[in-house]
């Protein structure tokens, strides 16, 4: 099919859900690899590839920073780029309930890059600068917060985003339209009760919610293999009793991911109900810098995609190497700039604690430390 079809099929495409299938309770899709009828055009594939490469370069530069002393701790998303890049391009991006809400986890950097986040904004968080738009130099890397795109603050507390997500979906459901809430977590985090809460709250009879629950299954909870603690075959099987359809997707394949996400979002947008996706992905640099961030031998979604692009004739080896070099240069330049930018000052410790209030006698503006004597 080289050069003829002008599209690239997914590696592990799942069966597309028909409308009737999507409405069924037991409509889970067979494991990846069963069908291969969907494909993406050249331009879209190259766009996905470039996002994946740039997100990887950003993360690898940050890993370096964690080892060089330019930052302290790294955690992020190498290995999840294929799925996350596709997710970022399919989001209805904007601010407020007419647009998709994102309750992400700390491995979603490629989603942010796909949405248009400049590399330097991710790196500013690693460099702990006052210019860091996500956390003012306070939080770990990958802990994004960006109101203009409805990215709610990412917390290190595993899975609590799953109890917050129904709230944004309640407002969206009430409002009408097609905007949905997307919540992302890991497979091991699904052990938390908050995951079950999301199932309950998203399926209250008469109050079903447009929530896309995404489980990024890299097989690990830090050092504990998922299979050693969870007996269920697939995490999404837990949606069955709640009537939540879903599918398992080969998350290392951006094309398969693209169509799975597209199906899921179309279902949530149209039916105004919950859907689950479980993406099988790799974890390429361990849990975080706390485990040394060593490169693992897991399948690399970028390398696998590039093999297909080469076969397809859409990229040459030289072009691939040039793209990687450009991404690395972009990341290096971003890091060089970020480390020179303004750092937080001691006067910044309290900033952004409180929003200004007309009914607070002590803190009409921001927090200023414990209450002091006001001579009135």
């Amino acid at each position: 099919m080289r050069g003829k079809s002008g599209t690239l099929p997914g590696n592990g495409q799942a069966r597309p859900m028909t409308k009737s299938a999507s409405a069924q309770v037991d409509s889970h899709i067979p494991a990846p690899g069963s069908l291969g009828t969907e494909s993406l055009p050249r331009d879209r594939c190259l766009e996905l590839h470039r996002i994946m490469v740039r997100a990887r370069a950003m993360e690898e530069r940050m890993i370096k920073m964690s080892k060089s002393g330019e930052g302290y701790f790294w955690i992020g998303g190498p290995g999840e780029e294929a799925f996350n890049a596709a997710l970022g391009l399919l989001i209805k991006k904007g601010e407020g309930p007419d647009f998709d809400f994102l309750h992400l986890h700390y491995r979603n950097s490629a989603t942010m890059v796909a949405m248009g986040m400049p590399m330097i904004d991710g790196i500013r968080q690693m460099a702990m600068t006052a210019t860091d738009p996500h956390s003012f130099g306070r939080n770990f890397p990958g802990h994004f917060a960006f109101k203009k795109w409805n990215v709610t603050p990412i917390s290190s507390v595993i899975e609590n985003q799953f109890v917050i997500a129904p709230g944004t979906a309640i407002v969206q459901k009430r409002r009408g339209g097609d905007a949905v809430t997307i919540v992302v977590g890991g497979e091991s985090g699904s052990a938390e009760g908050d995951f079950a809460s999301c199932l309950i709250w998203s399926t209250r009879p008469g109050n079903e919610l447009p929530v896309l629950m995404i489980v990024m299954n890299n097989g690990w909870g830090i050092s504990t293999p998922h299979g050693s603690q969870h007996g269920a075959k697939n995490v999404i099987d837990r949606g069955k009793p709640f009537g939540i359809p879903g599918e398992v997707v080969e998350g290392n394949d951006p094309v398969a991911s693209w169509f799975a996400i597209k199906r899921a979002l179309e279902y949530c947008r149209k039916e105004r109900r919950a859907y689950m996706l479980e993406a099988k992905v790799s974890r390429l640099y361990g849990h975080s810098s706390s485990s040394g961030a060593p490169r693992s031998s897991d399948p690399d979604c970028i390398a696998m995609f590039e093999e297909k692009l080469l076969v397809q004739g859409w990229l040459s080896q030289e072009a691939i190497e040039r793209l990687h070099a450009e991404a690395k240069a972009e990341a290096d330049a971003a890091a060089a700039q970020a480390v020179q930018e303004e750092k937080p000052h001691k006067e910044h410790v309290e900033r952004f604690t409180y929003a200004p209030s007309s009914v607070d006698k002590v803190y009409p503006g921001d927090y200023t430390g414990v209450p002091q004597r006001i001579d009135d």
């Binding site: 917060a145 109890v163 407002v171 209450p371 006001i374």
Partner: protein, 352 residues
């Protein structure tokens, strides 16, 4: 006069009509019950949630992220302990998120002893709550303040926890709310849901007016020069009662401050009173290890040491695992009128 729970209900109605409240929710909050204490009867935005405290806090946060203005309830603070990390996130998300999002949520929850509630309906929560940076914490001691603090909690764009003293929810005040009918029976007929079938019942709300009690502003309940007592919630009326008795019996003029806001607390009011009297007692019913009153005591010592004429003190609940159902346990676990009165007399009469 309205009871405190009626005042809360009317504040929520005012919030729906004038302050943009979009959701009042929690377990049993919607019809038919309208809250186990009836605080949410007849409200147009009230709805029932799953029995899931974490889900309740999380949903409130999500509603706020999407532009709503929710008031959520945890039925008893005793069941809020499994939400602590979510409460932390609600309080820190603005700070941690570079000010990207405000978090205009109100959490109301009954707190403290006094309803013969045994282990899990008698907890106090303010000392736990005071450690949740980013939150504002209030606790009224009378219906008018409950109304005014609730309106401010709703209007404030930050997370505000309204701790409602369980023992005082049925108590009446001595001041009318703005717009409240003077006739208690008439008010009850208008806004209390009937027993039995409520399917066709609709409240008839009075034309309520605004009354905002500023967050961080204490109330001077009794003026005096011999000693200062700082309290809030259930123990506040007991302190006022003790002050009245000591004035009549011992000619002691004891100043009583109703803190009303646990955080931010009114340090100015405490400081001013202490400079006048040189003697201070802080009274609450939370357990003594460790107690929010100890924080105030530390500041008193740090900043007013040389103005003190006798040792400052805190009267608190005992550090025990719970409050037992037999009333002998409760009477001897949390401060009651006789102990409070004795402590106040000792404070005011100890030789300098």
């Amino acid at each position: 006069m309205a009871t405190m729970v009626q005042a809360v209900r009317m504040a929520l109605h005012y919030g729906e009509e004038h302050l943009g409240v979009t959701d009042v929710f929690g377990q049993d909050v919607g019809p038919p019950l309208g809250g186990v204490f009836t605080a949410t009867q007849g409200l147009k935005t009230a709805w029932n949630s799953p029995l899931d405290e974490r889900g309740i806090i999380g949903a409130a946060m999500g509603i706020a992220y999407a532009g709503g203005r929710p008031v959520c309830e945890i039925q008893f603070c005793d069941y809020g302990f499994n939400t602590i990390d979510l409460l932390k996130v609600a309080g820190n998300q603005r700070w941690a998120g570079a000010g990207n999002y405000d978090m205009p949520i109100v959490l109301m929850t009954p707190s403290g002893s006094g309803i013969r509630g045994s282990l899990y309906h008698s907890h106090s929560f303010e000392s736990w709550a005071s450690r949740l940076a980013g939150w504002k914490i209030v606790m009224p001691s009378n219906p008018l303040d409950a109304y005014g603090l609730m309106l401010s909690a709703i209007a404030d764009p930050n997370p505000v926890m309204v701790l409602l003293p369980k023992a005082l929810l049925r108590m009446r005040g001595d001041q009318l709310l703005p717009g409240e009918p003077a006739n208690e029976a008439a008010l009850k007929d208008m806004i209390d849901a009937p027993l039995g079938d409520r399917t066709r019942w609709q409240p008839r709300w009075p034309e309520l007016g605004p009354h905002f009690v500023a967050l961080g502003e204490a109330s001077l309940v009794r003026e005096g020069t011999h000693a200062t007592v700082v309290s809030y919630g259930r123990t506040l009326p007991l302190c006022a009662q003790a002050a009245d008795q000591l004035r009549d019996e011992d000619s002691l003029e004891i100043e009583v401050l109703d803190l009303r806001s646990i955080f931010p607390y009114d340090w100015s009011a405490i400081s001013r009173s202490l400079e006048k009297t040189g003697r201070i007692l802080i009274v609450n019913e939370d357990t003594e290890v460790t107690n929010f009153g100890e924080h105030l005591l530390r500041r008193v010592i740090d900043e007013h040491f040389y103005e003190l004429v006798v040792r400052p003190r805190v009267l608190m609940g005992k550090h025990v695992p719970g409050i037992g159902l037999n009333q002998e346990y409760e009477r001897n676990t949390v401060p009651q009128l006789p102990r409070i009165k004795d402590a106040m007399r000792e404070l005011a009469t100890e030789e300098a």
